[in-house]
C-alpha cells in the first residue's frame, strides 16, 4: 500500500523567497504536474521555510511518523523522488529524515519562529491550531497597564539593534493623553546579513498582526503602519494578503475578537534607502518626506508619527510579544543571560556551509553558531572573520569567537549584536577592502544631515585608499583615526556614529591587510587595541564607550 493509492499525501514546499530563489516554485510546479497527470494524489501546501536555507528547496511529506524532509530538491529530481516513494517518506539520497528531529533544528529554542515553516502562512485555521491568537486573547482580558507590565517584566528588548526595553517604551506611549496614537513596525531590515524579519513576515504574517494589535491595546493606539522595504516584494504581498484576511475574520478593524478594541493596520513600502531603518527617518518617510533623521528629543514615543505618540518596534520585537503574553513573562525571562533575556533569532549568512535561522537563548557563543550550526565556510577554506550586527557592526577575528551572544558582552568587546545577523568570511577576504566598503556604504546611504557622516565617509574612502597604496601611511592612519573619532562623536545617528566600528575592528584585528602584507610593528592600531578579556556572563553590566543608538 502506498499513499498514492488512497487519500492525497500532503507535501510541503516553501513559499519563502529564499527557497524560491533557488527553485522552490519549479519544484512545487513539478509536483503539481505529477498530481494533475493523475500519477499521484498530492496536496501541495506552500509553507514558510524552516530556516535550514542550505537545504532549500526542502520538501516535506506528511507520514504517520511525522514530517519527512528531502533536500535540496530540484524540479528535475521530482519524478525520481516520487517513483522512489517520496509520498511514503521512503529512502532516497536526498532524504533528510524526520524534520523535527534534525539536530540543527531540534537543538534550537523556537519561540518567535515556532510556527515558521510548520504552517501554511495564510491559513487562519493553521494559525489558531498552532497557538495563534492566544497572546491577543490574554492581552484583551488585561488592562493596558497590565499588558505593559507583563512585557516589561519579560525583559524583552528591542530586536532592531539598540536593545531598548520594549515595555519601557510602551509605558511612555501609554502615559500620553493624546486621542490619536500610532504603532509603527519597522520592517526596513536593511542590514546585510539579516533576513529574520523577512522570513517571519513571509512565514507567519498573522503573528506580526497579532503583536501589533497587542501593542495597540497596550498603549491605546488605533492605527498601525508596517513599513516594509521595497526589496522584499514577497513579504509585502504576504502581509497585505494576511491583513485582508485578518480584517475579514475580525482580527483587525472594529471590536477585535468581540472586544472594545478598534485597530487597523496599513502596509507602507520603502523606496530603497538604508537610513529609513533608523526610526525617526522611517517616520519622516511614512509622512511622505525625505528620510532625514530627526534630532532626539523629542522621542517618537512622545512625538512620533505626525507628531503623535508612537510606538516604533522592530518586527522581531513585535512578533515576540504574543508569545510573552500567551506563555507569561516568566517563561520568557527564564531564557537568556544577564540583561539579555529570552531568545534571539540569529541569522547565519555569507560564506557559510549551513546558513539560515538559529533561534536560541542569548548566551550561545559565536563559535557555536558559526562552527557547530554553520559548519564553517561554504568554500571549505579557513574561517577568517565574521561581521556581526550588520554593516555598522564589528569584524571579529576567530580568536574572539568565544564571545557569548549577549548585548553587554558584545558592547564590552567593542562590537554589537544588532539585529543578530552574522556574516562569515574565509581567509580570502581583504579586510582593507571591507573597511573601505563600510565607508563607501555610509557615503552612499547617509541622509546628509550632518557633515561628519556625509563628508567624513567620503574622506574615509580616500584615506583608506591612500593607506593601502602606501602614500604617507603613518599620517593617513592618524588621519583615519581622527576621522573615526569625529564621526563617532559628531554624528546625529548611528549611521555616521557606528560606521567607524567595522573600520576600526578591521584595522585593529587585521592590520596587515592595510599594509600591503607588511607587518609594521611600529604602527599603533587605530583603536588602542584593548586586550579582549573573555567576558564573564555574570560580569556586571557596564556602560561602554561604544555608542548604541536610540533611547526610546
Amino acid at each position: 500500500m502506498n499513499n498514492s493509492s488512497h487519500t492525497a499525501a500532503t507535501v510541503y514546499v516553501p513559499r519563502d523567497s529564499a527557497a524560491r530563489s533557488v527553485g522552490a516554485d519549479e519544484v512545487a510546479g513539478a509536483l503539481q504536474r505529477a498530481a494533475t497527470r493523475g500519477d499521484f494524489a498530492i496536496d501541495v501546501v506552500r509553507n514558510g521555510s524552516r530556516g535550514m536555507l542550505w537545504l532549500e528547496p526542502m520538501v516535506e511529506v506528511v507520514t504517520p511518523q511525522g514530517r519527512v524532509g528531502y533536500g535540496p530538491v530540484t524540479a528535475e529530481d521530482v519524478d525520481g523522488l516520487l517513483a522512489a516513494g517520496l509520498l511514503d517518506g521512503a529512502d532516497h539520497p536526498l532524504r533528510l529524515g524526520l524534520v523535527d528531529e534534525l539536530p540543527w533544528l531540534a537543538r534550537q529554542t523556537r519561540v518567535t519562529f515556532a510556527r515558521v515553516g510548520v504552517t501554511d502562512p495564510l491559513s487562519t485555521r493553521d494559525y489558531v491550531e498552532h497557538g495563534g491568537l492566544a497572546g491577543l486573547r490574554a492581552a484583551l482580558d488585561m488592562t493596558p497597564a497590565d499588558v505593559v507590565a507583563e512585557v516589561t517584566e519579560s525583559g524583552l528588548r528591542g530586536r532592531g539593534g539598540a536593545g531598548f526595553p520594549a515595555g519601557i517604551k510602551w509605558n511612555t506611549v501609554l502615559g500620553c493623553a493624546d486621542e490619536l496614537k500610532f504603532v509603527c513596525c519597522n520592517a526596513d531590515e536593511g542590514d546585510s546579513g539579516t533576513f529574520a524579519d523577512r522570513m517571519v513576515m513571509e512565514g507567519d504574517p498573522f503573528l506580526l498582526i497579532e503583536g501589533m494589535t497587542i501593542a495597540s491595546h497596550a498603549v491605546g493606539a488605533s492605527e498601525g503602519y508596517l513599513y516594509i522595504r521595497s526589496e522584499y516584494p514577497d513579504a509585502i504581498a504576504t502581509m497585505r494578503e494576511a491583513i485582508e484576511i485578518a480584517r475579514e475574520h475580525g482580527w483587525l478593524g472594529k471590536g477585535i475578537l468581540g472586544s472594545a478594541l478598534d485597530f487597523d493596520l496599513h502596509v507602507r513600502v520603502g523606496a530603497g534607502a538604508y537610513i529609513c531603518g533608523e526610526e525617526t527617518s522611517m517616520l519622516e518617510s511614512l509622512e511622505g518626506k525625505r528620510g532625514t533623521v530627526r534630532a532626539k528629543p523629542p522621542i517618537p514615543a512622545i512625538e512620533g508619527l505626525f507628531g503623535k505618540p508612537t510606538v516604533v518596534n522592530n518586527v522581531l520585537t513585535l512578533t515576540t510579544v504574543p508569545v510573552v503574553l500567551a506563555k507569561g513573562a516568566k517563561a520568557y525571562q527564564d531564557l537568556g543571560v544577564g540583561r539579555s533575556r529570552g531568545t534571539q533569532v540569529f541569522q547565519l549568512g555569507g560564506n557559510i556551509a549551513r546558513g539560515g535561522i538559529v533561534e536560541t537563548a542569548f548566551g550561545i557563543t559565536l563559535r557555536e553558531l558559526v562552527e557547530d550550526y554553520g559548519g564553517g565556510t561554504r568554500t571549505g577554506r579557513p574561517l577568517r572573520t565574521a561581521q556581526v550586527g550588520g554593516p555598522l557592526g564589528a569584524y571579529l577575528p576567530t580568536s574572539m569567537f568565544d564571545l557569548p551572544m549577549d548585548y553587554e558582552a558584545f558592547a564590552e568587546a567593542g562590537a554589537m549584536l544588532g539585529h543578530g545577523g552574522i556574516v562569515v568570511f574565509d581567509d580570502s577576504v581583504d579586510m582593507a577592502a571591507q573597511a573601505r566598503f563600510a565607508m563607501e556604504f555610509c557615503a552612499e546611504e547617509s541622509c546628509g544631515k550632518c557633515t561628519p557622516c556625509r563628508v567624513g565617509s567620503v574622506r574615509g574612502v580616500e584615506v583608506i585608499d591612500k593607506i593601502v597604496a602606501g602614500t604617507h601611511r603613518d599620517e593617513n592612519l592618524a588621519l583615519l583615526e581622527d576621522l573615526c573619532d569625529l564621526m563617532t562623536d559628531g554624528s546625529l545617528c548611528a549611521m555616521g556614529g557606528l560606521t567607524p566600528m567595522p573600520v576600526r575592528s578591521a584595522l585593529t584585528h587585521f592590520p596587515d591587510d592595510f599594509l600591503g602584507g607588511r607587518r609594521l610593528l611600529d604602527i599603533q592600531p587605530v583603536q588602542a587595541s584593548r586586550p579582549i578579556q573573555p567576558v564573564q556572563v555574570s560580569q556586571p553590566v557596564q556602560a561602554s564607550g561604544v555608542r548604541t543608538e536610540g533611547t526610546a
Partner: protein
C-alpha cells in the same frame, strides 16, 4: 517629440493616482510608487502636478523623488537586474558578478544602449544565506554565478538551475 501629448497623459495618470490615495496619510511615497508602476519612471512633468495635487512645493516633491534610490527619473531597460553588493554576498564573490557585468559592457546604474537591460547595485536582498543574490525583473535568485547572471542579463531567466529550460 510629442511633449504636450505625453504631458497630458502623465498629468492624467498622476491626478488619477493621487485621487486613488486621497484618504491616506502622508501619501507621497505610495503615490510615487504607483506613478512609477504605471509609467515605468517618475518623469519630470509629474513633479509640478504632484506639487499641485498634494499642496507641496515643487522643491519638496523633487527632494523626495531624488532622495530615494527606487524612484527613476528615466525609464529602465526591458530587463532590470540588480546585483547585491552587500557584505554577505561579497563574502561569496559578488564582486565577480559586478566584473562580469562590466565585461559584458554594462555599467552599474545605467541602461544598455539598445534599451534591453538596466543593471544596478543593491545592498541586501534578504537572501544572505544563499548568496550571491541577484534580482531580475522583481524576482529573486540565489547562488548566482556568472553563467546564471549572463542568462538573466540576456532576459532569458527561465533557464532552470541546471541550465535546462523549464515550462
Amino acid at each position: 517629440m510629442t511633449i504636450s501629448g505625453s504631458d497630458m497623459s502623465v498629468e492624467s495618470v498622476v491626478r488619477r493616482v493621487v485621487a486613488d490615495h486621497r484618504d491616506q496619510r502622508g501619501a507621497l511615497l505610495p503615490v510615487l510608487h504607483a506613478v512609477q508602476a504605471e509609467l515605468g519612471h517618475v518623469p519630470q512633468e509629474a513633479i509640478p502636478v504632484l506639487a499641485d495635487e498634494l499642496n507641496l512645493s515643487r522643491a519638496d516633491v523633487h527632494g523626495v523623488v531624488t532622495f530615494y534610490h527606487d524612484f527613476r527619473r528615466e525609464p529602465a531597460g526591458r530587463t532590470t537586474v540588480r546585483i547585491c553588493r552587500a557584505e554577505a554576498c561579497q563574502a561569496l564573490g559578488a564582486d565577480r558578478l559586478v566584473s562580469y557585468a562590466r565585461e559584458s559592457g554594462l555599467t552599474l546604474g545605467e541602461t544598455s544602449a539598445d534599451g534591453s537591460v538596466t543593471v544596478e547595485q543593491v545592498f541586501c536582498l534578504g537572501n544572505c544565506a544563499l548568496g550571491p543574490a541577484v534580482e531580475a525583473n522583481g524576482r529573486l535568485y540565489g547562488r548566482v554565478g556568472p553563467a546564471r547572471l549572463g542568462s538573466l542579463l540576456n532576459g532569458t531567466p527561465n533557464e532552470t538551475l541546471d541550465g535546462t529550460v523549464s515550462a
